[in-house]
């Protein structure tokens, strides 16, 4: 039996609702038990060293794991960040553990742990683009981990796995891609650093209700059969494979359930995607602009 390569993973949770973690637990092939106990591929084992919702230990002894991982894996680890990084008020809106009796801001922990990381996986829309906590008026100065790294001069390769929450396949698939083929090559990701494999196609182009859209059969209230455009569907501007991958073992997804897509894996979620149940006016489209520095989709008002 050859030696098994241990791939160390540290999974940190910042300003999150833990929905990303819950979603990843729903992975089917491989199951979460497969992922935790077995080799992902022969000879390669994902070694989940730190995860606040799953790990056995608490308190000081688990903070020790973070230090210990840096030492026993000098080549680094994969750093998964779930949740946004609150930066207002010296980062005190989210703290993890204490040092010398003072709470450690999540912001500081992130800085420290990105240093030795091989790469950062921004899991979920909050970590990828800021998401819900950064919604107007962004009370805690929350930002995506990518924006946070930029603004702190940290230069690490990253992959975004957005979704509120992301589909388990998007995360597990992105990990598998890294394990098998290394970090994604430029042509494998879109301009936002998402694997095209999962985020390459527009929902609207693959939607089972597209026939209704083309023939003008519109739902005028929720629960109606028909295209959901008039009741607010954002599948029109959202890139993901939901229509054919579907959710929870392929049994359903938002639009099949009669609910409009709310654009949960796009950089403009939630601000640009609301009001959720109002039509996404065509006149808004040309005014949308991607802010290079933050990776956020913003609505440009004024002459611009």
């Amino acid at each position: 039996m050859g030696k098994v390569a241990e791939i160390p993973v540290i999974w940190l949770q910042g300003a999150t609702c833990t929905g990303c973690s819950m979603s990843v637990l729903n992975s089917i092939r491989p199951s979460i038990a497969n992922l935790l106990l077995e080799e992902l591929f022969p000879g390669k084992h994902i070694n989940l060293r730190f995860h606040m919702t799953l790990m056995a230990g608490s308190g000081e002894i688990v903070l020790e794991i973070l230090r210990e991982t840096k030492e026993s894996f000098p080549n680094g680890y994969l750093l998964v960040i779930e949740g946004a990084i609150p930066t207002a008020c010296e980062g005190l809106f989210c703290t993890v553990g204490e040092k010398d009796g003072k709470p450690t801001p999540f912001m500081e922990l992130t800085k420290e742990l990105t240093n030795n990381a091989i790469a950062v996986i921004a899991l979920g829309t909050c970590a990828s683009f800021g998401g819900i906590p950064s919604g107007r008026p962004n009370p805690t100065g929350a930002m995506s981990v990518v924006e946070f790294m930029h603004s702190n001069g940290i230069n690490k390769p990253f992959v975004r796995v957005p979704g509120c929450p992301p589909h388990p396949d998007w995360f597990v698939g992105t990990c598998a891609h890294i394990v098998l083929f290394g970090l994604p090559k430029p042509d494998e990701v879109d301009e936002l650093g998402r694997l095209k494999l999962f985020y390459g196609k527009l929902i609207h182009d693959n939607c089972p209700r597209r026939g209704y859209f083309d023939t003008g059969r519109m739902a005028h209230k929720l629960s109606d059969e028909g295209c959901l455009y008039e009741v607010g569907c954002k599948g029109y501007v959202t890139f993901s494979d939901c229509p054919y991958r579907k959710w929870n073992g392929g049994i359903n997804w938002c639009i099949d359930n009669g609910h409009p897509c709310i654009g949960c894996c796009e950089p403009g979620f939630p601000d640009v995607m609301s009001p959720i149940y109002e039509r996404f006016f065509e006149e808004r489209l040309p005014k949308l602009k991607l802010d290079e520095a933050t990776g956020r989709l913003i609505l440009v008002t004024g002459q611009d």
Binding site: G19, I61, F93, P139, N257, G258
Partner: protein, 509 residues
């Protein structure tokens, strides 16, 4: 005097710190529980289309998003004047989607968040049966993360019980996932469903879905009755001292849930599978009066006007302190169980009496760490059974949704019990948008800090008086805290509630 700080408190939702002070006999004399993440979701809701609340508030908690979606939909229904007009299908589907979440939550809580405090997964790698092959393989690689490190000592299950617990820990990973799949049949997807909206539910109850749902619910019922409940008994027998640990404040409140009729507009009076009300150690049932709820912030990181202020001197938590009648109350499965026991709910009485007989304990012993686990398991069984009945009451030919006019000015309130306890959403709409939104979640109650009168929160109260056998490995503390199933993302809520008067409900900062 010795201080123990547990930060991060893991295997709960979110960012929590627990700090206890021991006297020289090792007994807890003071305890503080702190929530350490603030996001300000209620502030983010202001100025938005009211209907968006049913989506955005689900992101308050990804472990239990459905209760927020449901409470929010009920809250909007009441603001839109349609709380008694939701079609029958819509009422049943909401119950079904939320009950699926309960089943998922209780399985997750017992096995994945708690059982590692009792079952010895490290000992299990030496078992020789075939079932343990994956674990042996895992251990043979020489890395035991994330099951190590942990607090050591006191893993006292015998090998037979330990085997059952460890195997079911793994099987339960699949069962909780199956509960989520079941939820998605009518919820669209999960976590964070896309089905429950103001006015009802978007999905249609077709025969194929009813069939599929029914058999999924049956499978989960079997797991709960034949694995989960027996496993809780195994732990309860081996750790019977935990019937005397972590009693808590002894006052209980529940808003009840699973609407059995949609005609009564007042949620505090609605007929529910698990009845709303309060009780205490005397087990006398009292009806619920929402106007007795208040919230204070002396020890919370908010200024008096509600502005978050993490540097406030007297404070130690982002959680506020809600009280009923000015007194600390515990919420959650134990509260629901005892209130329903006190009010004469036949099914709950029967289930509880059988278990108490088997364990030779009285109702008093239920006020404890083990009592909370037992309450949760009984409830899971009752709810899984109800799911099998409800799904057959759906009618594919009837509507699931009722249209409504958006008011430009209105107020609304939604009150239900989430898996972890009382959940209240309230909204004020002005000029067609949200002017104020407020949420009081279960862990706001259970995880609350000391109030302005010096009364501790329920978790703190449950910790005081506990003897810690080994301060290096404070297992007793961790077990007590986890028995409440804390959820910090839910608990931390906001800001300027002063002056927000919603009908009979008085909430002040």
């Amino acid at each position: 005097m010795q201080k123990i700080v547990i930060d991060p408190m893991t295997r709960i939702e979110g960012h929590m710190k627990v700090e206890v002070t021991l006297d020289n006999t090792g007994t807890v004399v003071e305890a503080r529980s702190s929530g350490l993440l603030y996001r300000g979701v209620e502030l983010i809701l202001r100025g938005r289309d009211p209907r968006d609340a049913a989506r955005i508030t689900q992101r308050v908690c990804g472990v239990c998003p459905v209760p927020h979606g449901t409470a929010s939909a009920l809250c909007l229904d009441s603001a839109f004047g349609i709380s008694n007009k939701i079609p029958k299908n819509g009422v049943i589907l909401r119950n079904i989607i939320l009950a699926s979440e309960y089943v998922h939550n209780h399985i997750l809580h017992f096995y994945h968040l708690c059982s590692l405090d009792y079952a010895d997964i490290v000992r299990a790698v030496s078992y020789t049966e075939n079932d343990f092959e994956p674990l042996r393989q895992f251990a043979s690689r020489g890395e035991l993360a994330p099951f190590m490190p942990r607090y050591e000592g006191d893993y006292r299950l015998n090998d037979d019980d330990n085997k059952a617990l460890v195997l079911h820990y793994i099987q339960a990973l699949e069962m909780r996932r199956k509960a989520h799949d079941m939820l998605a049949l009518f919820g669209g997807r999960t976590p964070i469903q896309a089905g429950i909206v103001a006015g009802g539910v978007t999905s249609q109850p077709t025969t194929d879905k009813v069939l599929s749902f029914y058999w999924r619910a049956r499978e989960l019922y079997d797991f709960i009755a034949n694995a989960y409940l027996p496993d809780v008994l195994r732990v309860a027998k081996a750790y019977s001292d935990y019937f005397g640990i972590g009693a808590g404040c002894g006052n209980f409140i529940t808003f009840g849930f699973f609407d059995l009729d949609g005609d009564e507009p007042d949620y505090a009076k609605r007929k529910r599978l698990l009845k709303q009300g309060t009780t205490d150690r005397s087990l006398k049932y009292e009806a619920l009066d929402l106007s007795q709820i208040s919230e204070v912030v002396r020890h919370s990181w908010y200024d008096d006007d509600g502005t978050p202020n993490p540097k406030k001197e007297s404070a130690y938590s982002f959680i506020k302190a809600p009280r009923y009648n000015g007194i600390t109350h515990e919420v959650g499965p134990l509260a629901r169980l005892l209130v329903n026991y006190a009010s004469g709910n036949e099914e709950i009485r029967k289930e509880l009496e059988i278990l108490m007989g088997e364990l030779s304990i009285g109702v008093d012993s239920m006020l404890s760490v083990m009592g909370r686990h037992i309450a949760r398991a009984i409830e899971a069984k009752v709810i899984a059974k109800a799911l099998c009945d409800w799904v057959l009451k759906l009618n594919p030919d009837e509507p699931t949704f009722v249209p409504y006019e958006l008011p430009s000015h209105a107020e609304g309130i939604g009150a239900i019990d989430a898996p972890r306890g009382c959940l209240m959403h309230s909204v004020r709409i002005e000029n067609g948008v949200i002017a104020n939104y407020s949420i009081i979640s279960p862990t706001t109650w259970n995880g609350s800090p000391m109030d302005d009168n010096g009364q501790r929160g329920p978790i703190e109260e449950a910790l005081v008086g506990t003897k810690v056998s080994d301060p290096e490995n404070p297992k007793e503390i961790a077990r007590i805290v986890r028995s409440f199933d804390p959820c910090i993302a839910c608990a931390v809520h906001v800001t300027n509630l002063r002056g927000m008067l919603i009908r009979e409900v008085r909430i002040f900062a």
